[in-house]
């Protein structure tokens, strides 16, 4: 199992580096497709299409669509009923406490990401926030740091860190359960498992249980969001993909 994990990371790393090298050419071909797609510019004022979104290729399209369909069914058949029941049982303050607890636990990811991006002030904020919420906030269930706007910096992660180094998305991937991602963000996400204390929980079924609680609790705040996205979209797959890529691009720019 360990050896397998190692190989998965190794392959992803090599692929990510490859993509970083190819970025120049990738961008060029991306621009030309955009142009042929949209045709020559016209006198009428139209917004230029932001190139970053056009560039991210989707070579796994068939597989990604299958994963998207799978996640869709997982959501409606399993995750949504679970989160709805959970939401009915636990009042909002409890769920907020649980969310705070898990957010606080992942502080190492954000702290390290700030460090790797040389974001000094944010690094300090994250550290102070972690110390304050872990102590005054009783193991992170409370969020006393919320009273100080400076102590809620934008959430950093390793995918954004790689992005800030100029590493492009690579290509788009849809993971079962986890949803939209890119090659770069998947590498980041894998790296994060080493920084997330929850990953070290043994035995594996306790780990799965804790992860399930985290996900269900999180989802209990967002029931309905996916439905509205689907409702509003003509092509839900494309809408989710574009939404993910837009959000990530904005986070990296921050």
């Amino acid at each position: 199992m360990k050896a397998f994990r190692f190989w998965v990371v190794a392959v992803m790393m090599v692929a990510a580096i490859g993509c970083a090298h190819q970025q120049g050419t990738g961008l060029q071909s991306g621009t030309t497709t955009t142009q042929t797609l949209l045709g020559p510019a016209e006198a009428e004022p139209v917004e230029p299409v932001p190139p970053t979104f056009a560039v991210t290729p989707d070579p796994l399209y068939g597989l990604n669509v299958a994963m998207f369909e799978l996640n869709d069914r997982l959501y409606f058949w399993l995750l949504k009923p679970l989160a709805t029941g959970y939401r009915a049982v636990f009042p909002e303050p409890v769920r907020t406490g649980v969310r705070n607890f898990f957010y606080n636990l992942t502080a190492p990811i954000r702290i390290v990401s700030c460090l790797f991006q040389a974001k000094g002030p944010q690094f300090g904020s994250e550290l102070i926030r972690f110390l304050m919420n872990s102590t005054v906030g009783v193991l992170g269930f409370g969020n006393p740091a919320a009273k100080y706007p400076d102590l809620t910096p934008p959430e950093e992660d390793l995918g954004q860190t790689l992005g800030s180094y100029g590493i492009g998305n690579g290509f788009y991937i849809v993971w079962p359960f986890l949803g939209p991602s890119t090659l770069r963000d998947s590498v980041g996400r894998f790296g994060q498992t080493f920084l997330n204390p929850v990953s070290y929980v043994e035995p594996w079924h306790s780990y799965i249980g804790i992860r399930a609680l985290d996900l269900t609790n999180d989802l209990s705040f967002r029931i309905g969001d996916y439905e509205s996205l689907k409702e509003a979209a003509l092509d839900p797959y494309e809408a989710l993909k574009d939404g993910y890529l837009q959000r990530r691009a904005a986070q990296i720019k921050e």
């Binding site: 139209v46 409702e231 509003a232």
Partner: protein
């Protein structure tokens, strides 16, 4: 000659300040707050008042959202593939789709959501208005891109958690138009809208 130029400049300046008299944030605040009032109004919540509620809401939304501009931007250069009649059909259906989806969402889930107007950035005839919506303890940033059109500040894009609505539809429309005709896209829109209102 110099005096004439100076006079013209003065007149133009005073015109622009007049035209920009209403701040974009205020131009947006009115319709949004009145819209929420209409949704909350218990008298309008009865089943037989649905049409009346919808009519009042439409009035507020259309007063500040410029759907032609939104459609044009969502189609980007594909806009030129559409003839006059197709454009008209498209704007009509797309605005209905946006209205129906978002209104039904707000109506079904409006549980003491509060809209807070945070800030605005104005450069010439463009503006951004920053707001946040608070539901339970989750804050969602919603930013409005506005443009001065015919002397009014009008919305041409909405960003929810940094995702541009126009950009999101643009990627969908361009994917569909890669293989299909404008009429096909209009037909899919019509079906989608029909599925909602029934």
């Amino acid at each position: 000659m110099k005096a004439w130029i100076a006079a013209t400049v003065v007149v133009l300046l005073s015109l622009t300040t007049n035209a920009f008299g209403v701040e974009p944030m205020e131009a947006l605040r009115g319709p949004i707050e009145r819209g929420l009032q209409i949704i909350k109004d218990p008298e309008l919540q009865a089943e037989d008042k649905k049409d009346e509620q919808r009519r009042l809401l439409k009035q507020e939304v259309w007063s500040v959202f410029n759907f032609e501009e939104i459609s044009r931007r969502a189609l980007a250069n594909n806009w030129r593939l559409f003839d006059e009649a197709q454009r008209e059909r498209f704007v009509d259906l797309f605005s209905q789709l946006l209205f129906e989806t978002y209104i039904s969402k707000i109506r079904s889930e409006y549980q003491d959501e509060a809209v807070v107007f945070l800030d605005q950035e104005v450069t010439d005839d463009r503006a951004k208005v920053f707001t946040k919506v608070t539901r339970e303890s989750v804050e969602t940033p919603i930013d409005y891109s506005m443009k001065m059109i015919d002397g009014h500040w009008q919305v041409y894009d909405v960003r929810v958690e940094n995702v541009s609505l126009v950009g999101n539809y643009r990627s969908q429309f361009s994917k569909i138009l890669l293989r299909n005709s404008p009429d096909h896209l209009i037909e899919s829109l019509r079906k989608k809208v029909q599925g909602k209102s029934s």
